[in-house]
Symmetry: C2
Subunit: 524 residues, 2 copies
């Protein structure tokens, strides 16, 4: 047995107000709304009429339709507000019609009609995206999947779950958890996001390191194409090499090729033993060295390796009413999670790792969670960061993949550029930029770069955009690691993809959505 | 510490002639050649002329071209034999020209010319496929990737390997093994198969259970399209959500959409501790029960769970000069492999599992390998099965995915049908069918059903084809779990895919290969 390392003590009282999985709008967010580039409305898209509404009423139950008087309905536009804007309130559309079908056939009927009529549609899951992908740009019909939230089948022998696209990730986690399994992905928005949206955006998250990409764990999809065709590829087989794996195209297509209505996914066995530690580290180099050692010592039980910098820690401790479990402040913090089938073995591996990290001087201090509530609180320190930054000010968010050795360099570079422009000075208030910070998934080479400003304004953004994209391109990185393209990065694809690749992406769009009615203005 | 369970002893002397990874032609195979359905030659494909050969000579070094006198060259047709026929000698084409380019640019130049001229091309890797996918059907030009076998880059921190498509899997395994990593896939043909072919066929194999599908572990591809376009998507990033993931389409497309020339793949950390056990089991039900228990007790260190029946065991013991390491014969045998980072922990987990399996009466007897050579020999018992059956007679091979509970039922059903037709009786010789047997990857729901006959003949095949496909369809299985479609199953796709899915597969073919010159007559 081993206890806390050094003298750090993590107790209940140090933590309060855990927000794991919650979703809070930024205060006064609407005032912060940045004037992002909004493409012109495609003139050929039909403007909705009362006749269209009548048609939808003929194919859907009344309670599944929200229509404003503008299209002949009686819903107060305020009821559509949560569908029209994203949760950061950065992107906002002006849809007058929300449809919430309950069956795949209804989705098919809706799309078939819209395709025939030339009516644009934006599919929407939990609307937790960060790139404006799930809200309308203009007056697109919002097709919400939230009424499709049924588990269709679960096979405990194979661990294969088949469910509707509108199932909330956390609820699925609870469902399979009761059956001794876990979902292969987990992310901060789990309390709101839908599995269909996760698949449509190829969500990554904190279990990626262990369980890999959805391209590997999704076994099958049911997808409705714009013309109403239902593509039934809802296989529950782990192996199926009968022709081209079309479902892969829809994973990460952000609702622009078809509407995912059903998902089949393999769920891993739940580990009976989980350990979580938070470590204080004095340099980014040591963050990397600790990662190499963690992979070596913990190998197969390593299930998460996350890091964040001191600036993030300051924000999260302040806004989540948490206290630093370590004895001092550090430039970097690392969270390591292990999960395995034997508590004694895992404790020994984790203990050995921590001892070695301290002996080698790679880590200065650390705290090891002693029970589930401490584990949850440590995770809040990591998962509470986005919300805490959002509470601090107008947050510019970049989600990039960069080779691990230079991953954190971009944070310093951006800070320097802002300092040179006299928009920012670390520790100083009253300037347009309050914070420049980074956190993310080291093991995946995935950094979340955040710049927190007083407000969204072009003189600030111009300093780091397109500079961020150029920087990432020069290191052969990706300008979107896991958040996707959406509206935000549609015009920036060329920083990460060749002209030939983009040309063939457009061909895919033409094949599946020749009229371009699905999630227009986005992705490609 | 724990030693062998029961009194079984595995020693060096019990094993001889290991064939892991070797490739031997079936004896007298050409005499066994089955008259498979050969589609007519597409009349519009150009027949090669001397001018074409001259052109290829202008873009390729002379030593990379094999051309028979029929097309103006001087190679003896016998030199092309190994390229024209598959290793089981079941499928055979009549190509007069083999091109073995050394660079991606050369591949591009070849395809551009062939596309413009309407010359059909079959891409070929290690030519170890089982469905006739890698050999010409008629006179297609053979584009062999074997001269492209260079490791381009390896990053030990992230474990990302970038290499040419023509690298042999086993050699890559050795390369990354020296750097403390392993390839995420492994299969019997590893000594010959190419990584490009593995990706093109979405190969599964024995590590699938632990490391999952190539759709998850392949990070990037370099692909040459029929018109010569080089699609550079050779990303080394674990996460990259910038647009549609086009590379996924080429994984499992069997060379019919483009020619894979480069592969980027994530390689897992090598485990320092490996344990392998072979168990004797009295029923298929207990094979399943042992699997459930193995997942529970060994969890994260379980790296393989294979099974085979007594018939397979008989063949492999005979042809590989091995002796049964167990004290008796059993209806089923199971091989369990664990790999982890701590030998003591793994021994304890494996020991606990074996004890429980014996106590519960799930397993009757077992042997635990005590060193690397015993591990290799136990694997030979499993991996030597295909070759041993091939030596026994003309082998009909089916590779199917079926829900685990009914997975083995198909073997008994086929045997009964053959008995009813008086073509087979277990244990009796002199009948047209010698053996009906099954083996495979339980954890993946993947069965290899084999029927060994005196010779390939229609009165035998008609008993189980299309019956096998109908059987699989009725259980919502896949008629090709990991071997692919190739020529063999092109006309049977509808057993596992809907008409809509097949229609969209054909659209994909039209987009990437509008003239249909790449690997014609196959897949879709």
């Amino acid at each position: 047995m081993f206890a806390f390392i050094r003298s750090s003590v993590v107790t209940h009282s140090l933590f309060a107000g855990a927000v794991q999985g919650s979703k809070v709008r930024a205060p006064g967010a609407s005032a912060l709304l940045r004037h992002y580039h909004k493409p012109s409305r495609t003139a050929s898209f039909k403007t909705l009429t009362k006749d269209d509404l009548e048609h939808f009423k003929s194919i859907l139950p009344a309670e599944t339709i929200l229509a404003t008087p503008a299209v002949g309905g009686s819903s107060d536009p305020i009821e559509l507000e949560g569908f029209n804007a994203d949760w950061l309130n950065k992107y906002r559309g002006n849809s007058q019609l929300v449809l919430r079908p309950k069956t795949t056939q209804e989705v098919s009927d809706i799309l078939k009609y819209c395709n025939a009529q030339g009516i644009a549609v934006v599919p929407q899951g939990g609307n937790t995206g960060l790139v404006g992908g799930s809200v309308p740009v203009h007056d697109e019909v919002i097709l919400s999947l939230r009424n499709m939230s049924r588990v269709r089948n679960y096979d405990e022998l194979s661990g294969v779950l088949v469910c509707d696209a509108g199932c909330v990730l956390e609820e699925l986690g609870n469902y399979v958890g009761e059956r001794d399994h876990i979902m292969p992905l987990d992310l901060g928005a789990k309390g709101s996001c839908h599995i269909g949206g996760n698949v449509a955006t190829n969500a990554g998250g904190i279990r990626f390191l262990r369980y890999g990409s959805l391209h590997g764990s999704v076994l099958g999809l049911e997808v409705v194409l714009p013309d109403g065709t239902i593509l039934d590829n809802l296989s529950t087989l782990r192996k199926d090499n009968t022709g081209y794996d079309l479902k892969q195209l829809f994973i990460g297509s952000e609702g622009s090729l078809g509407v995912i209505t059903g998902v089949s996914v393999i769920t891993p066995q739940r580990s009976s033993a989980v350990n979580v530690t938070v470590l204080g580290v004095t340099s980014y180099e040591n963050v990397q060295r600790a990662f190499v050692l963690a992979r070596k010592r913990c190998g197969e039980i390593l299930s998460a390796y996350e890091f964040w910098d001191a600036t993030c820690m300051g924000a999260v401790l302040h806004h989540q009413s948490l206290k630093n479990p370590l004895s001092a402040e550090f430039p970097f913090y690392v969270l390591i999670e292990t999960s395995g089938s034997n508590k004694d073995h895992d404790d020994e591996k984790m203990g050995g790792l921590l001892e070695e990290l301290l002996e080698e001087g790679i880590v200065e201090d650390g705290a090891l969670a002693q029970d589930d509530s401490q584990i949850a609180r440590m995770w809040t320190m990591r998962e509470g960061i986005p919300e805490s930054l959002g509470k601090t000010g107008a947050t510019y968010k970049y989600d990039v993949s960069i080779p691990i050795p230079v991953l954190y360099d971009i944070v310093g570079d951006i800070a320097k550029r802002l300092e040179s422009a006299q928009l920012y000075k670390p520790g100083e208030s009253g300037l347009p930029v309050k914070l420049v910070c980074g956190y993310g998934h080291i093991g995946d080479g995935n950094l979340h770069l955040n710049i927190v400003a007083e407000k969204f304004e072009d003189r600030v953004a111009d300093i780091f955009e397109p500079y961020v994209y150029e920087w990432v391109k020069s290191h052969r990185g990706s300008i979107s690691a896991e958040h996707g393209v959406g509206l935000m990065k549609r015009d920036h694809l060329e920083y990460s993809k060749s002209p030939e690749m983009i040309a063939y992406m457009k061909r895919m769009k033409e094949v599946f959505d020749p009229k371009g009615i699905l999630n227009p203005y986005k992705v490609v």
